[in-house]
Amino acid sequence: MKNYDSEKHVKGESQFVDDLLTPAGLLHIIVFASTVAHAKILKIDYSEALNSIGVAGIITSKDIPGENQIGGIIQDEPLLAEEYVHFIGQPIALVVADTILHAKDASVKIKIEFEKLHVITDPREAFQKGELIMSPRIFASGDVDSTWLKCDYVIEGTAESGGQEHLYLETQGAFAYPLETGGIRIISSTQGPTQVQRASAKVLGLPMNKVEVDVTRIGGGFGGKEDQASTWGCIAALAAWKLNKPVKIILSRQDDMRMTGKRHPYSSDFKIGLSSAGKVLAYEVTFYQNAGASADLSPAVLDRTLFHAVNSYYVPNVKATAISCRTNLPPNTAFRGFGGPQGMFVMEAALYKASEVMGIEYRKLQELNLITEGDTFYYGQTIENSTIQRCWQETNTKYDVDSIQERIEDFNRNNKLFKKGFSLMPVCFGISFTNTFMNQASALVHVYSDGSISVSTGAIEMGQGVNMKIRQTVASVFSVDIELVKIESTNTTRAANTSPTAASAGADMNGKAAEIASNIILEKLLNVAAQKLNVKNNSSITLKDGYVYLNSTPELSWFQLVQAAFQSRTNLSSQAQYAVPGIYFDRTINKGKPFAYYAIGTAIIEVTLDCLRGIYEFDSVKVVHDYGKSFSFVVDRGQTEGAIIQGLGWMTIEEIIYNKDGKLITDALSTYKVPDIHFTPKEIEIEFLENVKNDAGIKGSKAIGEPPLMYGIGAFFAILNAMKAFNPDKEYKLSAPITPEKVLCELYPENVNSLV
């Protein structure tokens, strides 16, 4: 099965927010935003802007009828700045006009005076000054302090990982219009329609039932539209409400890049203790998370960093401390992996460093410490049905890692200015929102009298194929042709109180809800069939390929069955909720079983480094991944490839640079570079682990959205290995992304100093 939307996509017929036909009188918004990262607003003069051509109104925090507050986890984020501004790009006012150009012209006529305050961009500085989003969180088990003495090796170090711009191709946007019922309808590009609804209702001072949010699809999200789409939904809603007109906001790429948050940069200190045989006995890590100016999803991201602090390994004594630091940058937010990659990177960095010190190969240390079936992670969850060892072993044998190593060593002996490196990367990623209550979804299924089926859930289609998976699930419950099943837009009037489509769990949860709702209708249909065929109970009746079978004889068509049900006044609609069973987490002791299951696999990444120029090319990425019982080869492979390359980008060329004034330097696609078609590894090979299933996932499958991104971490260590081949004595910094600039300056440090 292919992506549900793909035929429309290739014809250019798929509609995104900015493609919708809009009513006459539509107004457009330019956001007037702060140009300084931290300041008190002394004076704003809108008079000239208000008289500018085409301006319908300028909206400030004073115009907000409800609460000026959109913070999700912590109520610390105003929609529009009041007295103070806390980051460059923070919205202050909305300039609403008949055209975008008129709104822009007017916005430059606003006069503002600031009293500048101290700007913090570094999380460690924020920590020292007590600028914390919340108190530090610690996950621990065993006793690291008493273990250090028992270790043959204790190694300490610092690792840095950078931010990452989502760069969804469709920028943030929303279109809102007032309804005659005294409410408002918002068409939003969001992963979380309920979040947009809740925030807008609060800002407008309306009950949630007066705010309807509708999403057909979004042009990429990657976490960037999980919480941060709410700002733009609220802004469109506020302007529409205030001016009683249809209003649209579509961020320009530059506004999107400078106003919205990104993946959290982390600066981390680690201490790792090992036996001389290479077993990790203790691991202590402190994560300084750069949260930006307000909480956003930072506390939840921090949680996941703590859950994935040791990646796929077993460590008996762990102390992981995570500190969310408030800085004067746009609030950082969810990004595919959600803090997991940041946690895993530090663990891999610690193992890599240990391997250098101990003279044991990095991959041997990785292998020695892989967690095994029945082991318990430091937060209390025991690993069951683990395929960690299997994926690692199959990767080693299928791709013959020893011969890869030989080939690379041979290449390196014979080449002076080009060096190759490779690295393995195991991934074990927990599936479920770590905030247990969010693990619920709902679905509404209608079977129409002509036999066609309509399905609404809380899932958002963003290219990950969730609609295809749900469609296939429903079609298989009724055993009808998939063409009969239509997935509706995601709408808060049909699916209420939804969790955002995130945490890789969208298909699992919404698919299960749709399955339950369909089964309720199925049960009724079977009863109708039993009655019609004069059998006592429905156990001898089955639906297969569009026909009703009594024992093995086809008796009725699907259409005849639905007609009969309709004629007999059977309810052909059903709503159902699914709550992921068996998960819990006690935050007072930080122990529990937070995940329904783990997504697992191993990758090998191979790179060629041009040591003259400091640039690199990826030769191959080879993977063995446990997909459970995969729904669709094309969809699952696509998610894997896409995530891997996003992970490679994060580790290598994607570099977010803010200057010390908090100004984003890489604020356009000309300066922020994501992988292009040439950057893609020459070879990507993906092996689906065989004979696996997963009862906790939809139809035996496993979640796939985020986990493969973390394979990209291997790219960093592959490059380090190539650098080591060029200069074996040098100790390299553990600082990602490892840009061509960092590579060159690290390869030639002595010479570089003499150049300046």
Binding site: K2, D5, S6, E7, K8, H9, V10, K11, G12, S14, Q15, F16, D18, L21, K104, L167, Y168, L169, E170, I218, G219, G220, F222, S252, K416, L417, G463, Q464, G465, L612, R613, G614, V634, G642, I644, I645, Q646, I653, I657, A668, L669, S670, K673, V674, P675, D676, I677, H678, F679, T680, I684, P740, E741, L744, C745, Y748, N751, V752, L755, V756
Partner: protein, 478 residues
């Protein structure tokens, strides 16, 4: 300024009096409501807005991909614009089918741009191969798939069309049938445009390709009167005159890299120039634009600086009033840049041509560019070197460096030092020291001062290592 603009969009003739600096992207989306063409970045860096533009060259209709976000509608007067809607046939075209089957589309936002670029590859080429088809997608960014599935779709499409030899693209299912009539329709349209005529005066903006102008100054252009520097497709843009090669300022990067003359004298030119922008940018960006834009990291300027090229500058007003070529003033390219974005050029002056001496048999050329991402990126540092030797003695040399000064830099001291020297490792090391004393890089998004200095050193080493592998030894350089 153009009053009426007439062109064919897909199968429909469009006549409009909209401002000629309106981008084709906005016109398609907001006036024609053809929303399959997407806006992703508005600076030619993502390709979501790619369209195909067809232009008559004599009797032949030539198609190119272009970023519609940087394409003023005035530039498509008399041309054929094809958006994704114009490629839709009944069912799916082979390219669309390959993208669906291989999973080349996920969220779908970038997809129309990829379909356009890949379809244009088959439209523009007679022979197809997978590598070239993939390269034709160098201006399109997909954030979902990581491009792997798209590469598979490109390979599959190539296989398909290679199996359809002898068929037209209409009968092979790539194009709707209306494409067959376009050449005749364009001829009629162009006749109509010529009889209308347009009053031309020198306005504030002279637009050639506009690939940087429309990134930086679109809104200002939109509020101003504009001229389009049109080149006639029939003109010979690159020619030999005596021992000089003459290139029209209106020649695009694509024109230059595909020129037979240039390929004879610079066998690696395709490799070098493929590092400049992306295919849709190269199809629009002109030599003259690259030079007057005066960006310190301009790639083409860097290339021609090392050929010690000469510029021919004419008075634009007199050109228009006399309707013929006025006499030109000559300036060496290395003397053209007076300071950051300051040129030896009056506002009414226009660069008409560039010339350089044809390299002799014992001369060598090297171009080097390093950027964060190898393709479709702005150089951190670029450098070119042309060198002529006799018995390992340097008899002529010109070196340029971009990204290390406020202007595209000609390294005159470095060249002077190397002239008449023997090619030796220690001479090269000394030349690097001199080069580093000539530059004044700043720290910006493309790297720190330290990095740019190190990089220039490495690139100068790279020139010599590549050209004189038997003499130059890396270990002796550092």
């Amino acid at each position: 300024m153009l009053k009426t603009i007439s062109f064919i969009c897909n199968d429909k003739e469009i006549n409009t009096d909209i401002h000629p600096a309106t981008t084709v992207l906005d016109f398609l989306r907001k006036t024609l409501f053809l929303t399959g063409t997407k806006e992703g970045c508005r600076e030619g860096d993502c390709g979501a807005c790619t369209v195909i533009v067809g232009e008559l060259s004599g009797n032949e209709l030539k198609y190119k991909t272009v970023n519609s976000c940087l394409l003023p509608i005035g530039s498509v007067n008399g041309k054929h614009v094809v958006s994704i809607e114009g490629l839709n046939v009944k069912g799916l075209s082979p390219v669309q089918l390959a993208m669906v089957e291989e999973g080349g589309t996920q969220c779908g936002f970038c997809t129309p741009g990829f379909i356009i670029s890949l379809s244009a590859y088959f439209l523009n080429n007679k022979k197809y191969n997978a590598d070239e088809a993939i390269e034709s997608l160098d201006g399109n960014i997909c954030r979902c798939t990581g491009h792997t599935a798209i590469k598979r779709a490109a390979v599959r499409s190539v296989e398909y069309f290679n199996s359809q030899k002898g068929k037209t693209l209409v009968s092979a299912g790539l194009l709707p049938s209306f494409f067959s009539d376009i050449p005749e329709r364009l001829k009629t349209l162009i006749t109509k445009i010529h009889t209308n005529g347009d009053g031309e005066i020198i306005n504030k903006y002279q637009i050639g390709g506009g690939t940087d102008l429309f990134v930086q100054k679109w809104e200002d252009i939109y509020k101003s009167d504009v001229n389009f520097i049109n080149s006639n497709e029939l003109d010979e843009k690159i020619k030999i005159s005596g021992n000089e090669c003459m290139i029209n300022a209106s020649a695009t990067v694509t024109d230059i890299m595909n020129s037979e003359i240039m390929n004879i004298h610079f066998p690696d030119i395709k490799k070098y120039f493929s590092l400049f922008g992306s295919l849709p940018i190269r199809n629009r960006a002109t030599l003259g634009g690259n030079i007057v834009n005066a960006s310190p990291i301009a790639d083409m300027t860097n290339f021609f600086l090392a050929l010690n090229s000469k510029l021919y500058i004419i008075d634009g007003n007199s050109m228009l009033s006399m309707k013929k070529s006025p006499s030109a003033r000559e300036v060496l390219l290395k003397d053209f840049y007076l300071g950051y974005k300051t040129l030896d050029k009056k506002p009414e002056e226009i660069i008409s041509q560039l010339s350089f001496r044809i390299p002799s048999a014992n001369s060598y050329f090297s171009f080097e560019k390093v950027s964060r991402r190898t393709y479709l990126d702005i150089a951190s540092v670029n450098s070119s070197m042309s060198i002529e030797t006799e018995n390992d003695i340097i008899t002529d040399i010109h070196v340029s460096a971009g990204g290390v000064a406020p202007i595209p830099l000609y390294l005159s001291k470095t060249g002077n030092f190397l002239l008449n020297k023997n090619i030796e490792n220690k001479i090269i090391s000394e030349a690097v020291r001199i080069a580093l004393s000539e530059i004044s890089p700043i720290t910006d998004a493309r790297g720190s001062v330290l990095y740019k200095k190190t990089l220039l050193r490495q690139l100068i080493f790279a020139h010599f290592l590549k050209l004189f592998p038997l003499i130059v030894k890396y270990e002796e350089l550092v």
